[in-house]
Amino acid sequence: MSLIDPENTIPEARSPFSEAWEMFRGNTAAMIALVILCLIVLGAIFGPYLYPTDPFDMVWAPFSPPGADGFILGTDYLGRDLLAALIHGARVSIIIGLAAAAVSILIGVTVGALAGFYKGWVEELLMRITEFFQVLPTLLFSMVIVALFGASLPMITFAIGVVSWTAVARITRSEFLRIRELEYVMASRASGATNAKLMFRVILPNALPPIIVQAALMVGSAILFEAGLSFLGLTDPNVVSWGQVIGSNRQYILDASYTVTIPGLAIFITVLCISLVGDGLNDALNPKLRSR
C-alpha cells in the first residue's frame, strides 16, 4: 500500500456516523445542549424515584416561596410541591414529545416517500392531502380532536402527531424526487430491486439526514404543543405536565409568579437544547455545509 500512497495521504474510510459525530463534537453549543438534555432525560427517568413526593399531594401551606420552609421551588396555590410537579411532569412532557414526533414522522415519511417515489397521480393526491392539513390551524384542530374524543395521553399524542406531519412529508418528498433519479438508484432498479426495496433500502437511508434534523425539531415542537394543550386544560387530569402546572396556576400570578415562571423555564430550556442539538445535527449531517 505504501507503494501507491507513500506518504499515507489517503484518509482511512470511516463510517458516516463517526464522521458526523466528529463534526457534531466540534460544535460547542450543541454539545453543551446535548449534555443538558441528557441530564433532563435522566431526571425524567430516575427523578420520581429519588424525589417520590406526589405532585398532587397538598404538603404545605399554599404560596410558600421557593427556598422557604424546605421546599426548594416552593408550593403552588393548593400547597402542592412545585419541584415534585416539575420532576414528575418532565416524564409526561418528554414522553408525549417523543411519541407525537414519532407519529408525525411515521405519517410524514410514508406520505412523502410514496409521493416522491411514484410521482404522477399518487403524488398529486398525497400532496393535495398534505396541503389540506396545512390549512387547518394545528392547535385548533388538535384541540377539537381532544375535545371530541377524550383527553387521554394516547389521544393527545395522536392529536399532536396527526396535525404536524406536513413538513416531514414535504422534506421527504423532495429528497425522494432528487434521489430517485441518481445513478445508483437506476443501477439497483436495473439489477431487479423491487419498489419496496428501492424505497426503503436504497433511497430512504440516503434521504435520512434532513429527516433526522427535522425529527429533532419535531420533538421540540411537540413538547411545546403538549404544553399549549395542557395549558388550556386539555389534558389528562390525572397526570401532571409542565404546561398543565402553568395553566392551573396562572390565575395566581399576582401572589406567586414563580409557579408560572419556573415550569415555563423548564419547557424553554428543554426546547432550546433540542433546537441547538438540531442545529448541530444539521451542520454535521448536511454535506453541503461541510468544509473539506
Binding site: 396545512q134 390549512v135 387547518l136 411545546l224 395549558f231 404546561g243 402553568i246 408560572v260 415555563g264 426546547v271
Partner: protein, 325 residues
C-alpha cells in the same frame, strides 16, 4: 391578465379545500360519542328513549350519513353552521361577533412582524457581525423555544402587574365612555402586549430568513453590477437587492397563517382577548360541538384567504412566479 386567470384557478381550488374541511368536520362530529339529541336531553335533565328518537327525527339525525352531510354542506353554503345550545345562538352569529377581534390581533401581529422583520433582516445582513445581527440570532432561538403563553404571562407580570403600563386583560375598557378616537386608543393600549407576544415568534422567523436571503442577494452578480455602475450603497440595497429578497419572506409568511391562528388561541387565552380562540376554549369546556366545528371551519377559511392573498402578492411583486400551481 394572466394573474387574474391564475387567481381564479387558485380560488376554485380553495373552494374544494373548504368543502374538504366541511366533510372532515362533519365526519368528526359523526364519529364523536354523543350527538345533539344527547346534548338537548342533558340540558333538560334527561329524556327517555321515545323523546330521544323524536329529537333525532326532528333534527334529521336518523337519516343516512350522506344525506346528513349534504344537508350540513348545504346549510353552510347559506351561512348556517348550526345552532349552539350552550350560547343559545346560531353559530354563525356567534363567530361573526368574535371574528373581528381575532382578525385585528392576527393581522396586526403578522403585518408588524413582517415589516419589522424585513427591516431588521436587511440592516443585519449589511452588518453580519453587528449588534442587531446577534439579536436576530438570539431572537430566532428564543422565538422557537419559548412557549408563547409563557412569554405572554411574563410580559403580563412585567408590564401590567409590576409596572402598570398596560391593562391586564380584555380588549377595551367598557366602564369608560368616549368617542371613536378614544375607543381606538383604548383598544390599541389593550393590544400592545398580545401583539408583542404573538408577533415576536414570527418576527424571529422573518428576520432570520430576511437576513439569510439578503446576504445571499448581496453576494450575487447583479448587485455587483449595480455597485460597479456607481449606485450608492443605499440605492443598491433598497432599490435592487430588497425586491429580490422579499419573495422568500412573503412565501414563508403565507405559510404561517395557520400557525398564527394557533398562536392566537393561546395568546387570547392569556390576555382574555375576546376572539375566536377564547370562544373555542369556552365552547370546548362546554362541549358545544357545533361551535367548535364552526370555529375550525372559519379559521380554515381565514388561512385559505390568507394564502390566496399571499399568492396574489407574490405574483404582483415577482412576475417570474407563474404557472397554474
Amino acid at each position: 391578465m394572466q394573474i387574474l386567470q391564475a387567481f381564479a384557478i387558485r380560488s376554485g381550488y380553495a373552494v374544494i379545500l373548504l368543502i374538504a374541511v366541511l366533510v372532515l368536520n362533519f365526519s368528526m362530529m359523526h364519529l364523536a360519542p354523543g350527538d345533539v339529541a344527547d346534548t338537548i336531553s342533558q340540558s333538560m335533565g334527561g329524556a327517555d328513549q321515545e323523546l330521544l328518537d323524536k329529537i333525532r327525527a326532528d333534527y334529521g339525525l336518523d337519516q343516512p350519513f350522506i344525506v346528513q352531510l349534504g344537508r350540513y354542506i348545504g346549510g353552510v353554503l347559506q351561512f348556517d353552521l348550526g345552532f349552539s345550545f350552550f350560547y343559545n345562538q346560531p353559530v354563525t352569529d356567534l363567530i361573526l361577533q368574535r371574528l373581528p377581534a381575532t382578525l385585528l390581533l392576527v393581522i396586526t401581529a403578522q403585518v408588524l412582524a413582517l415589516l419589522i422583520g424585513v427591516v431588521m433582516g436587511v440592516i443585519s445582513a449589511r452588518r453580519p457581525n453587528g449588534m442587531l445581527s446577534h439579536f436576530v440570532t438570539f431572537l430566532a432561538l428564543f422565538g422557537y423555544a419559548a412557549p408563547v403563553f409563557w412569554t405572554g404571562i411574563l410580559l403580563l407580570i412585567a408590564f401590567s402587574l409590576k409596572i402598570q403600563w398596560f391593562p391586564v386583560a380584555g380588549m377595551m375598557d367598557v366602564s369608560v365612555e368616549g368617542g371613536f378616537w378614544f375607543r381606538a386608543g383604548d383598544i390599541a393600549r389593550h393590544m400592545v402586549l398580545p401583539v408583542i407576544t404573538l408577533g415576536s415568534i414570527f418576527l424571529a422567523l422573518y428576520s432570520r430568513l430576511a437576513r439569510a436571503t439578503m446576504m445571499e442577494t448581496l453576494g450575487s452578480d447583479f448587485v455587483r453590477t449595480a455597485k460597479a455602475k456607481g449606485l450608492s450603497p443605499n440605492q443598491v440595497v433598497y432599490k435592487h437587492a430588497l425586491k429580490n429578497s422579499l419573495s422568500p419572506v412573503i412565501t414563508l409568511a403565507g405559510l404561517q397563517f395557520s400557525a398564527v391562528i394557533s398562536g392566537a388561541v393561546l395568546v387570547e387565552a392569556v390576555f382574555s382577548w375576546p376572539g375566536l380562540g377564547t370562544l373555542a376554549f369556552q365552547s370546548i369546556i362546554a362541549r358545544d360541538t357545533p361551535t367548535i366545528l364552526g370555529i375550525l371551519f372559519f379559521s380554515a377559511l381565514v388561512v385559505i384567504v390568507g394564502n390566496l392573498l399571499t399568492d396574489l402578492a407574490l405574483r404582483l411583486i415577482d412576475p417570474r412566479v407563474g404557472g397554474k400551481g
